[in-house]
């Protein structure tokens, strides 16, 4: 009998060896590695899913006994190895998304969600395919700002679900996961679970830009995202006051320490233009965002004025950039979108880029 025929018989015999935990035979499970059959000498490895497998010895004995009983086999050598299969990261994440932009702030109340929403809209209005992920689990406000009624997302195959669509934007939000007005009260591990779902289970389709509205601060959600999602860059939103700038600085440092490129700093509520004159009234001081950007040598993307239409747009569910494209705020958002897109292009064109996400299976 040829070696190859013998190998087939050996494999057929091994198909009767079951893994008691997984309830499947070890051949179908792909445990048999590096099989070598030469002149009746059979050598192979059994690769278990954990080195701590409680039935390791039992499986080894069963393999040896059964293979030795095959006609034509003179000698059997079985080596037990293990390949721990990582449970969480195995699925590819956001494969069809070209750019992932995190919008963050150190402090709450600086208008981060408003900036994220209008930035996403401004990018979409240039003709790009844009998604918006409301990752502010505790205070999701994007559905309100876009006028999307709260309803459960449409489910698809394999635990996937579809984003809501409004004004050409694809939107996911924690608000859709609870009843209207009900708080989501969660501890850390649950938060991580929701973010993981947003990253893995949403049928985004192809996107040019995915804008992620982060919760304020430097906590669980930020860390999960920076560890799991291949972020292209981050935008930090601040207001001109010192108290906001102090925390914005922490946001910048957080992205620095996890190597997410800073696309730049946006100063929101920078100035007020009243209807009587064209003078810019700097109600909350001026120049803070610019100074912060200079301090960290990151781009200052733009300043967004404080105008009533922004608030009204947010409350009515029609972002200012759609409701009143000629408003100074809308113009500022268009400039912001252009700056963000430009910074992303610069990052993409950099030479000697580090390896994007990778995985290496160890051999031998």
């Amino acid at each position: 009998m040829s070696d190859q025929d013998l190998q087939v018989r050996v494999i057929a015999e091994l198909k009767t060896v079951m893994d008691p935990d997984l309830n499947k035979d070890i051949v179908s499970l792909g445990f048999i590695k590096n099989m070598n059959v030469t002149g009746g000498n059979v050598k192979f490895q059994v690769e278990l899913t954990t080195p701590a497998c409680p039935v390791k010895e039992q499986l080894k004995t069963e393999c040896e006994t059964k293979v030795r009983a095959v006609d034509g086999v003179k000698n059997v050598e079985v080596e037990m190895t293990a390949m721990v299969r990582p449970a969480e990261h195995s699925q590819p994440i956001l494969e069809n998304v070209k750019n992932i932009i995190a919008v963050a702030s150190g402090k709450g109340g600086v208008g981060k969600s408003t900036v994220a929403t209008n930035l996403a809209m401004a990018l979409q209005m240039t003709g790009a395919k844009v998604g918006l992920m409301d990752a502010d689990i505790y205070g999701p406000s994007i559905p309100q700002m876009l006028g999307i009624p709260i309803s459960a997302p449409k489910g698809g195959a394999d635990n996937k679900f579809f984003p809501h669509e409004q004004y050409g934007l694809k939107v996911v939000s924690a608000a859709f996961l609870s009843k209207e007005g009900q708080p989501l009260m969660l501890r850390g591990p649950m938060l991580g679970g929701i973010i993981q779902q947003f990253l893995q289970n949403v049928e985004w389709g192809e996107l040019d830009y995915l804008v992620i509205d982060l919760p304020p601060g430097t906590g669980d959600v930020q860390l999960t995202l920076t560890q799991r999602a291949p972020l292209s860059g981050a935008v930090v939103v601040t207001t001109p006051q010192e108290v906001s700038l102090i925390d914005a600085e922490k946001g910048v440092r957080m992205f620095d320490s996890v190597k997410v490129p800073m696309l730049g700093i946006v100063e929101n509520m920078s100035y007020f233009v009243c209807d009587g004159c064209d003078k810019k009234h700097h109600i909350f001081k001026s120049g803070g965002g610019q100074t912060l950007a200079e301090k960290f040598k990151v781009p200052f993307l733009n300043e967004i004025p404080l105008v009533g239409e922004v608030v009204e747009g947010g409350d009515k569910g029609v972002p200012v950039i759609m409701a009143d494209p000629s408003s100074p705020a809308s113009k500022a958002y268009k400039v912001l979108a252009g700056q963000v897109a430009a910074q992303l292009s610069i990052i993409h064109s950099q030479e000697g880029k580090p390896a994007a996400s990778f995985e290496l299976a160890w051999k031998g």
């Binding site: 954990t50 080195p51 701590a52 190895t81 293990a82 390949m83 721990v84 990582p86 990261h89 920076t226 560890q227 799991r228 999602a229 291949p230 972020l231 910048v252 440092r253 992205f255 620095d256 320490s257 996890v258 190597k259 997410v260 490129p261 800073m262 301090k295 960290f296 040598k297 990151v298 990052i347 000697g352 880029k353 580090p354 390896a355 994007a356 996400s357 990778f358 995985e359 290496l360 299976a361 160890w362 051999k363 031998g364």
Partner: protein
């Protein structure tokens, strides 16, 4: 991290990662440096909270408890700043930042 200047994206990052031998890992960095690591050396320097005390920074891992045949089974990137090793002793909680990987380099120049 250097203060008052953002050097993050210009800090060297791995460009190419490969297995050199059954027990050696090689990394080519964006600044051109070529690192080499013995896998045992990497396991012994795991930065996770069960190997290094989180508050005191004192090493809690006794290298003698690491199996003789220690090897990674798999390794992968964590975000844009670190590597994670899945070891054949079942340990996988360490995130090795790029900075730490540079520190652990065992090439002739770094040793």
């Amino acid at each position: 991290m250097t203060e008052e200047s953002s050097t993050s994206t210009t800090d060297p990052a791995p460009k190419g990662i490969r297995q050199i031998s059954p027990t050696a890992l090689g990394i080519t960095w964006t600044d051109g440096h070529e690192s080499i690591y013995g896998v045992r050396h990497l396991r012994e320097n795991c930065p996770c909270a069960s190997c290094i005390d989180e508050w005191t920074g004192i090493k809690r891992l006794d290298p003698a408890t690491i199996p003789e045949n220690i090897k990674p089974v798999n390794l992968k990137s964590v975000g844009l700043y670190a590597l994670q090793f899945f070891w054949n002793d079942g340990h996988d909680t360490g995130f090795y930042s790029h900075k730490l990987m540079r520190k652990l380099c065992q090439c002739i120049g770094c040793r």
